[in-house]
């Protein structure tokens, strides 16, 4: 099993969700996050005061998946979240040791 974490542009969330469903991902967790990368922040001006905002809002998606579909999942996210501009985000992949469905007690791939 793998845990895929993707940081994407907030307005791409729906497209990514659809693309993931299409390749057989049955559930994801979404968090609104802030951070910085290569994309520069912007300045905000309030009367005489100017502030540089370097932390930009992003969406973090987490999906626990069977190892077999990893390539398809990565491809789906890459395609759906791509705008070609700086700040499109990143995908991280981790090995997932165990998964448990709380209601039934199922473990491993059955719990996904």
């Amino acid at each position: 099993m793998k845990l895929v974490t993707a940081i994407i542009k907030p307005f791409k969330l729906d497209e990514v969700r659809e693309a993931l469903s299409a390749v057989g991902v049955t559930g994801i967790t979404v968090t609104e996050v802030k951070g910085f990368g290569r994309q520069k922040g912007h300045t905000e001006l309030y009367r005489g005061a100017e502030y540089v905002v370097d932390f930009l809002p992003k969406v973090k998606i987490e999906a626990a998946i069977k190892s077999e579909i990893l390539e398809q999942v990565i491809e789906a996210i890459e395609k759906a979240a791509n705008t070609g501009k700086i700040g499109d985000g990143k995908v991280f992949v981790f090995d997932l040791e165990q998964a448990i469905r709380i209601r039934t007690g199922e473990t491993g791939a059955d719990a996904l």
Partner: protein, 495 residues
């Protein structure tokens, strides 16, 4: 279900009792004017009776009561929201609380002694103590109301209406100062400062600028000098201030700047971002201020007449002009037209047209509005940097600068040669004329100068005393945590 029904019946019954009680009261209220009318309708006896004392015009009374409520809305919630939106979310409630409680505190002080100090006969600087606890404004045994003067002969107003209207002015003026020291002053220090500053700056400045004996006192050319001598100092000089350019805005704006210096800069000022937490609230507050300001300015005519109409229109026009001026000025010089800029422009325009409202014509409103937008935009940028104080919400840049601009330009555009209404040059006959523009300008400048010095000195002393008693600032840790939790034990938003 049955229980609910019983409750419903109980509420109905209570309403019925209240309603029944109200009936005799209403009947009593209606009795009085009826009785007076009967007296007037009696056939006149052979000898000439003295003319009955004039009674207030119901339209005037209705308008002034409405205006009073409008000005209340300028403080709570309008100013509180305008300021509240501009602070960080951790200080939102402290801003709302400071405005809410300062407003209430000043209204109470106003009724105890403030009104008397400001609006009764005394010397040229302070009034007297005739109206302590509003003594004498209403005689309960005879059911008689005392009268206050307006700007027309034989047109009195119930003094209680005037007291209430002016109470809202005193209270909002004190609240304005809070923006300059926002996010870093102790609540207890605010209260101590307000009592002192209200007593020794607001009341005397209001007396100096606005107290006079009223048009009916000017019965004969022989009494003019004596009556003038009883008026407030700045009124005697001949300075015009329709609704409070000096009394309200310069008074508060300068005290705010003094506060910004004495309280010191917010921790992290210039290093950390201190972005407004909700410009939506600020826009809402600014709009409500504009709405309430019609009561503030047009109400300052004290009558529902042409002067009120002129003040109303000018308040409309100058504000719109200032919004456009600030917006386009910012767009041009700063790159983007911001919402905060438009809201600030509105307040700048409102401030500047305040002393001018019924004292200038439409042409004056255009010029004052555009000038206010541009000059205050400069003041919150360049001037603020020169001053070097952390005037957190630009009380000086908008209220003192806008108020000064308005007060000076009132002297220019009052002239009938520039479309202004002119001024009463002789209160005995009510003759209207114009002073030479330069002369009036200098008189206005004199009034502005006096106000700046007076409020500046009082504010220094008042902040120092508050500092000695409780200290001005919360502990560093408390300031970082936010005044909402540290001072009030609450949080504005739970999300």
């Amino acid at each position: 279900m049955k229980n609910l029904f019983r409750k419903f019946i109980a509420v109905l019954a209570m309403l019925g009792v209240v309603g029944l009680n109200a009936v005799p009261l209403a009947a009593f209220a209606q009795d009085k004017p009826g009785a007076e009318m009967k007296a007037e309708a009696k056939p006149a006896p052979a000898k000439e009776e003295a003319k009955p004392a004039p009674v207030p015009n119901k339209g005037d009374v209705a308008w002034m009561l409405t205006s009073t409520a409008l000005v209340l809305a300028m403080s709570v919630p309008a100013l509180a929201l305008f300021y509240g939106g501009l602070v960080r979310s951790k200080n939102m409630l402290s801003m709302l609380m400071q405005v809410f409680v300062t407003f209430s505190l000043v209204v109470v002080l106003w009724c105890i002694y403030g009104y008397s100090l400001a609006f009764t006969e005394g010397n040229a600087y302070f009034g007297g103590f005739d109206r302590l606890f509003l003594n004498g404004t209403f005689d309960a045994t005879k059911g008689e109301f005392a009268m206050a003067a307006t700007f027309s002969k034989n047109t009195p107003l119930y003094e209680l209406v005037f007291v209430a209207f002016q109470a809202t002015f005193a209270a909002i003026t004190c609240c304005l100062i809070l923006g300059a020291v926002a996010e870093r002053i102790k609540f207890s220090a605010v209260l101590i400062f307000m009592v002192l500053w209200f007593t020794f700056s607001y009341a005397p400045i209001a007396h100096m600028v606005w107290f006079w004996m009223g048009p009916d006192a000017y019965t004969d050319p022989k009494v003019v000098e004596a009556m003038n001598a009883k008026a407030g100092l700045i009124w005697q000089w001949g300075a015009l201030d329709f609704a409070g350019g000096t009394v309200v805005h310069i008074n508060a704006g300068v005290a705010g700047l003094v506060g910004a210096y004495l309280v010191g800069k917010r921790i992290g000022y210039g290093k950390e971002a201190m972005s407004p937490h909700s410009l939506t609230m600020t826009m809402l507050g600014a709009s409500l201020l504009w709405f309430g300001w019609f009561g503030f300015n047009a109400g300052s005519a004290l009558e529902a007449n042409g002067s009120a109409a002129l003040a109303f229109m000018n308040t409309f026009l100058a504000t719109a002009c200032a919004v456009l001026a600030w917006t386009f000025g910012e767009w041009l010089f700063k790159g983007k037209p911001s919402m905060l800029g438009a809201a600030s422009g509105a307040v700048a325009g409102l401030v500047a047209i305040t002393p001018a409202a019924g004292n200038v014509g439409i042409c004056g409103a255009f010029v004052i509005g555009i000038a206010a937008g541009l000059v205050c935009l400069w003041a919150v940028n360049q001037l603020k940097r020169w001053l070097g104080a952390d005037d957190a919400l630009d009380v000086f840049g908008i209220h003192a600068v806008g108020g000064t601009l308005g007060a000076l330009l009132t002297g220019v555009f009052n002239s009938q040669s520039l479309g202004g209404p002119g001024l009463v040059t002789d209160w005995v006959t009510g003759k209207v004329g114009s002073n030479p523009i330069w002369d009036q300008f200098l008189v206005q400048a004199q009034g502005v100068g006096m106000t700046i010095i007076w409020t500046g000195v009082v504010a220094i002393v008042a902040f120092k005393i508050a500092d000695l008693i409780v200290g001005l600032r919360p502990a560093e840790e408390e300031e970082r945590e936010g005044l909402d939790i540290a001072e009030h034990g609450e949080t504005a938003y739970h999300m």
